[in-house]
């Protein structure tokens, strides 16, 4: 309530003409005449806290009508309008709030300081629709966010054309590890644990990181501030995959004292099916748990949190290829090489992923405007990738990584009049261990990484219609790896000149090396928000971010089975630096709103994987791709509209276009999302059990901007070698998907609501492939699916 008042208050205030300057002073007291220390008094845009005697003072106030708002936790707020003509003395007597403590103690918790960027939010009711899917799927609700997939279960978000290390995912204030390397590492996150998802396009979230060249995904868990206890269970069934999930959560809220949440999710899904065949070995399993307990005191709170994510993900059998010939056959046949009957069984290749997060938080509120937060978190990732191997090796993981990350964050926040300040330090230590028992040289070596960052962000409201923010961050990063290089590879890479001091041991055909890199980076963000009129808003932001090469970019060295290519990292890579300018224009009419977001992102030393030739091995020829750097420019536009046609009919539209260019070679960048246009028509009728019907159309155009990386290989045909082209470049044709969603709500128990939803995806059973799916060379995307969801609130 208070929050709403405050917002309302901020909006209705117009800086009245400032001819005369007046002072208002006074006291805030309770009815027993005792001063209320640290209570809040707002006049116009300004806020003060009362001192130890309950005194406050405002100087230089303009004459005219203005609103005054006085608040103190546990007391009823006072809202009034006064006409300032001269200096005034006002004493406020606050009445104690006896009924319930409805005030929300921590007001600033989720509010953002980056007022110059319009953040995109996904609400709980939307998130719940994706209960049976992945985080990456849900994020596509936001215009400008697409997904990079390996099959249908491993889904990574792409923000304005950028992904992986460029898009950190922050869940519950912890930066999620192990989701950055390679395209087949998806964020280890149970979508059911999200209460709200925020997408920041660009590097403006400096409190989280300075390397978010693409953007940030910020996930906040469900948190209840009211004194209540409730539970929720979501049951899903999906005809495609013939499986489903169950997710149950219990939330105990309290604004003072103990509160806690607990959630667990199980998922069991068999082979998915494309329109004309089974996608063999694409089943998956998940078992997740998360829980937290929090104690809220008068002006502090302390909480601890733990979450466990475990997934077993089958990788399409047909995507396990050998050499170039196998790849050629797969691309040309257009049918997967392996199609078996439907099964729930998951064979190799598969991923077995575990992710533990444990953390403790302490927040202390000096007063309502100043607070400090401390957080220690620990993450443990265990990643096993199994490949199709001979004999007993089949039971040994081909990749076995254990990643441990400790981090400590201290954040300080202060709001003062029309200034707000946030600053803090983060430090983290990470260790990766690649188990040599795999019998395969690991793609990611052992390493230790230490990071330290310090930031400051400031926001100033010049007037009600104009605010400016600016932030600066410094990051120190040090990585020390231990890696064996084949001497032949070391020489081929030409490392001897520059990196011979990394060599610490000679193991016959291999060098033992300890590569060591140190980085000092600065990043910044600055921008403004201008209200052009009552319903026109303009947000402009410029940000500069630096991203260091990640371990796969540095150290990859060898055959990557999932893609059938030899991937080579480069020790000579330098950090990548991006400067992004983004503008958002937001206009609201009575029943129609429009949001246009053009941007340009200029990236110096953009790292990307590109084909450079062939290497012949005993398994035949393999294309060699290496990490290179260039200067890139990504420009694009995202558009969203929302039209309330009538009370019952709504229309939503979104459009996203990005153009990525290698400005050195003057050619398009690889893997840029094609133009996409979404339309949604929604019908809701409250009287009919809150019936909601929704038809969605998703058009993805063909990407015509792509670099030509095709190569030739020799195959034997009619007793002679024939050179054929392996087309790895041409994007698949455009496609159009229709989906339908319907929902009704029933009152159950005393105050519970049960929601029954029925969804059909890919209604027309369209056969299509997606440019940004790494398995597009091997199989079609999934076909039609019927889904039933039952959500019970109690």
């Amino acid at each position: 309530m208070q929050k709403r008042n405050l917002t309302f208050f901020l909006f209705i205030l117009f800086c009245t003409s400032a001819f005369s300057q007046n002072t208002i002073s006074g006291k805030t007291l309770n009815q027993e005449q005792a001063p209320l220390i640290g209570s809040h008094v707002h006049i116009g845009k300004r806020t003060v806290s009362t001192d130890s005697d309950g005194n406050f003072i405002f100087k230089n106030l303009s004459a005219g009508n203005t609103t005054i708002h006085v608040s103190y936790v546990g007391y009823q707020s006072i809202d009034t309008i006064i006409n300032i003509k001269s200096d005034l003395r006002l004493d406020f007597y606050l009445k104690q709030n006896t009924s319930t403590l409805q005030e929300v103690l921590i007001k600033q918790k989720t509010s953002s300081l980056n007022k110059s960027v319009l953040e995109q939010k996904i609400k709980l009711e939307t998130i719940e629709k994706y209960s049976n899917q992945t985080l990456g799927d849900a994020l596509k609700e936001v215009a400008g966010v697409s997904s990079l997939k390996s099959g249908s279960t491993v889904v990574k978000p792409i923000i304005n054309g950028l992904y992986g290390s460029r898009v950190p995912v922050i869940t519950n204030n912890v930066r999620l590890e192990d989701q950055e390397w390679g395209t087949e590492h998806a964020p280890n996150f149970d979508i059911n644990a999200a209460g709200k998802i925020t997408v920041i396009k660009g590097a403006t979230g400096l409190q989280y990181s300075g390397d978010a060249v693409g953007g940030l995904v910020i996930i906040e868990p469900i948190s209840v501030k009211k004194d209540t206890l409730f539970g929720k269970t979501i049951l899903n069934f999906d005809s495609n995959g013939r499986g489903g999930s169950i997710s149950s959560s219990i939330h105990k809220g309290n604004n003072l004292g103990l509160s806690w949440n607990a959630l667990s999710t199980f998922k069991y899904i068999g082979d998915k099916e494309a329109p004309t065949y089974v996608l063999s070995n694409t089943g998956n399993r998940e078992a997740n748990f998360s829980g937290d307990i929090k104690f809220t005191g008068k002006n502090y709170d302390i909480s601890s949190f733990y979450s466990y994510y475990k997934a077993l993900i089958g990788i399409l059998s047909a995507s396990h290829t050998g050499n170039v010939n196998d790849l050629y056959n797969s691309i040309n046949n257009q049918v997967p090489a392996v199609v078996n009957d439907f099964t729930y069984t998951i064979k190799n290749p598969k991923q077995d992923v575990q992710h533990h997060i444990a953390k403790v938080n302490f927040n202390y509120h000096f007063n309502e405007m100043t607070s400090i937060a401390l957080q220690y978190s620990f993450q443990l990732n265990k990643r096993l990738e199994f490949d199709v191997r001979r004999g007993d090796y089949n039971n040994i993981a081909a990749l076995d990584l254990e990643l441990k990350t400790h981090s400590l964050n201290i954040d300080y926040k202060k709001n003062l009049h029309d200034w707000s300040i946030k600053s803090g330090v983060n430090t983290s230590f990470q260790n990766n261990y690649a188990n040599p028992a795999t019998g395969i040289r690991p793609l990611i070596p052992n390493y230790d990484k230490t990071d330290f960052g310090v930031y400051g962000i400031v926001n100033h409201d010049f007037s009600d219609s104009f605010s400016v923010d600016a932030g600066l961050r410094y990051d120190f990063s040090k990585i020390q790896a231990t890696k064996y290089y084949q001497k032949s590879r070391w020489d081929e890479r030409g490392y001897d000149n520059e990196f011979s001091d990394f060599i610490v041991g000679d193991y016959g055909t291999q060098w033992l090396t300890k590569p060591n890199f140190v980085f000092n980076n600065f990043s910044f963000s600055a921008g403004f928000h201008k209200k052009l009129s009552k319903d026109w808003d303009c947000f402009t932001n410029i940000s500069f971010a630096s991203r260091n090469p990640n371990p796969s970019e540095y150290f990859s060295d060898g055959l990557h089975h999932a893609t059938g290519i030899i991937e080579l990292g480069d020790l000579g890579l330098d950090k990548e630096q991006a400067t992004k300018l983004a503008v958002t224009i937001h206009k609201k009419w009575n029943s129609f709103s429009l949001e246009i977001n053009p941007y340009i992102n200029s990236i110096h030393n953009y790292m990307f994987l590109t084909p450079v030739g062939f290497e012949t091995t005993i398994r035949g020829a393999f294309p060699v791709w290496e990490y290179q750097q260039t200067n890139a420019r990504l420009s694009g536009i995202d558009i969203q509209t929302h039209w309330n046609i009538t009370n019952q009919w709504e229309h939503l539209f979104s459009f996203a276009y990005v153009n990525g260019k290698d400005v050195v070679e003057n050619q398009p960048l690889i893997d840029m999302p094609p133009l996409s246009v979404n339309n949604k028509i929604k019908f809701t009728k409250k009287e009919w059990k809150e019936l909601s019907l929704e038809l969605k159309s998703e058009i993805v155009f063909k990407q015509n901007q792509y670099p030509n990386n095709n190569f030739n290989t020799n195959i034997i045909s009619n007793d002679a070698f024939v050179s054929v082209q392996v087309d790895v470049s041409t994007p698949p044709p455009a496609y159009h998907l229709l989906s339908f969603n319907s929902e009704i709500k029933f009152k159950t128990f005393k105050k519970g609501v049960t929601t029954l939803a029925f969804t059909v995806q890919n209604i027309l059973d369209t056969k299509y492939r997606d440019y940004l799916n790494r398995q597009r060379f091997f199989a079609d995307e999934i076909g039609r699916s019927y889904q039933i969801q039952l959500k019970i609130n109690y």
């Binding site: 392996v338 041991g505 055909t509 033992l512 005993i618 070698f721």
Partner: protein, 208 residues
């Protein structure tokens, strides 16, 4: 309920703050400790026991004569060094040669012979012989040992019958998890074999 902020409460909070500071210090210490406890015991290099480095095909003429040995050796596996391909000499005209292929890992110490593993897992393996030029076709040996438990061919043994002078290449491919029931796969046609390639080597061959 009184909401006067008592001194008591503040004292409590400062005590909490003290506790907090201690906790924070402890955490920093843990962090520092874990970063210092970096042990220098280096993990040994990975033994790539599974790696095939050497493929040898020995063709022995029926009724006596010079055997022909074809060998393909790539000791650095996926590494950049080119393989070493050797052919001991030409095949003679009008002879029938019995060929036997062996797979070894010579990067390991001691050398591992991988051929028995392939025989044990015969159901999941098949070799294919493709030729180019004027050479006659290579066919599968008919001995029982050339077949898996299901009676389908594995193909480690092959037969090459020469007639007149000829030149061309022989490509030997080892397919893992082939579709042995695919059209013409049993006859040695790789077109419908699917699976993935474990080895693929090419030799230049002459019949003189």
């Amino acid at each position: 309920m009184k909401t006067k902020i008592s001194n008591n409460q503040f004292n409590l909070n400062t005590k909490k703050m003290k506790n907090l500071k201690i906790t924070a210090l402890a955490l920093v210490a843990v962090l520092a400790f874990s970063s210092c406890s970096k042990d220098d015991n280096v993990t040994p290099p990975v033994n790539e026991n599974e790696l095939i480095t050497t493929i040898t095909a020995i063709y022995t003429p029926q009724g006596g004569g010079t055997t022909v040995t074809l060998q393909y050796k790539d000791l650095d596996g996926d590494g950049p060094n080119a393989p070493v391909v050797t052919v001991s000499g030409p095949f003679a005209q009008s002879k029938t040669y019995d060929g036997a292929v062996t797979f070894k890992n010579e990067a390991a110490n001691p050398v591992i012979n991988l051929t028995p593993e392939i025989i044990t897992e015969g159901v999941d393996h098949q070799l294919f012989y493709q030729k180019t030029g004027t050479l006659n076709a290579f066919t599968y040996g008919t001995a029982a040992s050339n077949f898996d438990v299901n009676g389908k061919v594995i193909g480690l043994q092959s037969v090459f019958t020469t007639t007149g002078v000829a030149t061309g290449t022989l490509k030997i491919t080892l397919i893992h998890q082939p579709n042995k029931s695919g059209v013409n796969v049993a006859a040695g046609d790789i077109t419908n074999a699917a699976g993935s390639t474990d080895a693929e080597v090419t030799f230049n061959i002459e019949v003189q």
